[in-house]
Amino acid sequence: MTLPLRVRALILSGIFLALTLGLWELSHKAPAAAGEMTEYEMLMGAASEEAAVPPPSKIIAHAWAELSNPFYDAGPNDKGIGIQIGYSLQRVLIGYLAAAAVAIPVGFLIGMSPLMYRALDPFIQVLKPISPLAWMPLALFVIQDSEASAIFVIFICSIWPMLINTAFGVAGVRKDWINVARTHELGHLRTAVIVILPAAAPTILTGMRISIGIAWLVIVAAEMLVGGTGIGYYVWNEWNNLDLTSVIFSILLIGVVGMLLDMALARVQRLVSYAD
């Protein structure tokens, strides 16, 4: 009897996970038991033990403790992980939605008008490759607010994939479908809503997925720079505390949240996709 591919893959994933965690756990224990302590290590004592990469068991215990009380707030440097993630998500969503609100209409314009496409293309080509963090000093100077600057950086990094994919999707709408709209005397707005938007939606959603991925990558770095709150700040802060357990835990959490964001948009993409 062979199990379905999905189940077999799941079992294999479980084995890989167990192997990785097992080796990690063992490799941690081994040197402590074998080698003799150097003088330096004896001097450093507890500090050096804390600075070593912690074993998975410790991280899981830590994760359990953090996740069972994610929303506590005990001052600026001691907030629950849920609150920190919440801050980051809020910045990402504001910047991202603002970017969508600009990128999708402008992408429509560029996609529908060859003139606009040519006119705006040089700007896009120059602005697109700029690392979003390069904007940070300028943003801080102009906006004079670290919170808004972080959001601006998210805005600027999410805009390009959405803009380019929207333009591409709109420009690529099958001529016959446009003709269906024309022969039914649909106006510009109704053509956009009834024909072009649904036709281009899968391509637009691809852009939105790329954008949310980039936004989530960038927010961590941005928050390390601007500080205060958010998961990026949290990672940096725990590093300064030499709390590697928390650092590793938050790294994994960043990965999980990023995955969930992508899955949410993947679901929307499935809703708007069509077979042709």
Binding site: W177, I194, P198, A199, V272, A275
Partner: protein, 309 residues
């Protein structure tokens, strides 16, 4: 004199080419189509049939000439002219029903939701697409069912002129036969004027009141208009017993096989402004060369035999 419902005058299409002389796809196309008439047009691929149809639809513009429908010049697409393409007439993200209702809504924006649905269902029923199938997306329907939806939509908006561009070209022969008769049935209940492109001679004879024959491109023209006087209602199985059926069929096949090529690039012998020559069966004895050989060898006014001393 009353004007015909649809007048095509001196239609021509020329594309400029970067190198060399401009390419004239067709020219001097003059047609009169009466209200309620079913007209098919046949010609080899590339002679410009789709271009003519798109000009009639208002989707494309001609280089010369004009199209006048109901006394008004066609200057753009309109709900008065419904179009069915070979593929991609349906919006793939909408169900069959929604593909019809959006058109009905566009046609009668003030109708209530119920009225729109009722009207749409009526036409889907006419083509036998109910009982659950109407909620499926186009990709979940067979090619035949998809074209049924396209036809239902085209009839539902009750255009003054229905334009069909090889609507059954992508269907298998059996499906095509069934759906042709369905089209006839739906059409016969209306006074719908239809202009249809086909490459299937039997299909044209079954459906048409008149078949227009185009010469090969470039510089194609409509050379003949063959009247199909086989009485209606017609059925695939019975029309073949009509005494004129094979004469018509042979005439069409022979035109496509040889004369469409021989006449390519020639001008209308009746003049550039004239409508195509009318051919009727049984032939009514007009001076038409029966064989291509006679056409090329007998100059007008030449004696049929000459005695050389």
């Amino acid at each position: 004199m009353t004007r015909p419902f649809l007048e095509v005058q001196g239609l021509g299409k020329t594309y400029p080419s970067p190198q060399g002389p401009p390419l004239t796809v067709f020219r001097d196309v003059n047609l009169h189509i009466q209200k309620g008439e079913f007209v098919c047009i046949i010609g080899h691929s590339g002679c410009g049939k789709s271009t003519i149809l798109n000009v009639l639809a208002g989707l494309d513009t001609a280089t010369t000439g004009a199209v006048i429908m109901d006394g008004q010049e066609v200057a753009g697409p309109s709900l008065d002219r419904g179009v069915v393409f070979q593929n991609y007439s349906l919006l793939p993200w909408l169900s069959a029903l929604k593909n019809v209702t959006f058109a009905v809504k566009a046609r009668w924006p003030r109708w209530s939701r119920d009225k729109v649905a009722e009207h749409s269902y009526k036409y889907l029923e006419m083509v036998g697409l109910t009982g659950g199938a109407e909620h499926r997306k186009p990709h979940q329907l067979s090619g035949g069912m998809r074209q049924r939806v396209s036809i239902a939509r085209a009839f539902a908006i009750q255009p003054k002129l229905l334009l069909l561009d090889e609507p059954f070209g992508a269907l298998d022969a059996l499906t095509r036969g069934v759906i042709q008769e369905e089209l006839l049935r739906v059409w016969s209940g209306t006074n719908q004027t239809v202009f249809m492109i086909t490459h299937d001679v039997d299909e044209a004879i079954l459906l048409a009141d008149r078949i227009l024959l185009m010469t090969n491109g470039p510089e194609a023209r409509v050379a003949e208009a063959v009247s199909i006087d086989i009485p209606r209602p017609r059925q695939r199985t019975s029309i073949i017993h009509d005494p004129n059926y094979y004469a018509i069929r042979n005439h069409l096949v022979e035109f496509l096989a040889t004369r469409s090529k021989e006449l390519a690039g020639t001008a209308n012998p009746d003049g550039d402004d004239a409508t195509p020559q009318v051919v009727q069966f049984p032939t009514q004895g007009f001076p038409r060369p029966v064989t291509p050989a006679a056409a090329t060898k007998a100059p007008i006014g030449a004696p049929t035999s000459s005695a050389k001393g």
